[in-house]
Subunit: 145 residues, 2 copies
DNA sequence: AAAAACCCTGTAGCCGCTACAAGGTCAAAC
DNA sequence: GTTTGACCTTGTAGCGGCTACAGGGTTTTT
């Protein structure tokens, strides 16, 4: 299987495959006489593994670590679980931050009534007031923390 | 006010101030005889505005657009509100994606019971099964969509 | 007068790709 | 047999939003 076929089967760009090889996530395959990469089913399996981890938003460094761990079957599973849970905590933290953002942006947008000019608009005023460190719809109680 | 003082007052890195100037978010200030940037209170106000928008996770391009809009006070406020609401939708979409991720990672972690080896661990098996396109704890109903 | 703290420009690194340039190879159509 | 087109190769640069470092000059403090 050549790189285009591998990429198609995994649903990724050809460049991404080469990138993963450079980054040590995919073993360098054999080459044909003319220098083309020749992949086997193991490579596809590994590539799908990487993509699945990426779909869980894991950074490449952690996927690399998972691959290392999986190579040594004597390793305690706790290490894998810790990695997953640490990642989960990161995702949770980011989600909560976005949730707070949502509230702030909604408050901001609520300042605006249709049809008037920016000179009379609550949004820019809010944003500019923030420049003075004053309370605003975005960060109502920020200064109380 | 020199760049260090400005940066300190806004709570940003000196490099970030220069970066914003390069990116057209901050007007180039006057220079002293020896070439040092000399800022006034207007610059601090603008910098705080930019930082506030960044705290709302707006991309610099949108902040630039907001600055443009705010310069022309005859512009309809709807443009500002649309920008904010579009950004809000992006944030919402990302938050929902992260929420789904959380569930997947939790299901994954639940596969693991403490103390055993990776060979017997549900997590890596799940991740590797995914490489065959099978149903997994991470993506239980993905193939039904 | 020396040391420390500040400033300048330019460049490169982070992440996970993506795209482009400038070439070599291979299969099929004419 | 050659020409088209799809494929492959390497190397390099770009995205965003900074951050850091190198190698200098200036100002302030000791």
């Amino acid at each position: 299987m050549r790189i285009g076929e591998l990429a198609r089967q995994a649903g990724v760009d050809v460049q991404t495959v080469r990138y993963y090889e450079r980054e040590g996530l995919l073993d360098a395959p054999a080459r044909t006489a003319s220098g083309y990469r020749a992949y086997g089913p193991r490579h596809l399996e590994r590539l799908n593994f990487v993509r699945h981890c990426r779909s869980l938003d894991m950074p490449l460094a952690e996927i690399r670590r998972l691959i290392e761990l999986s190579r040594d079957t004597r390793v305690s599973c706790d290490q894998v679980n810790t990695l997953v849970r640490t990642h989960l905590e990161r995702v949770q933290a980011k989600r909560k931050a976005l949730q707070a953002l949502e509230g702030q942006l909604e408050a901001l947008s609520a300042q605006c009534e249709s049809g008037h000019r920016v000179a009379d608009c609550g949004i820019l005023e809010e944003l500019i007031h923030a420049a003075h460190g004053e309370a605003c719809a975005c960060h109502p109680a920020a200064s109380e923390a």
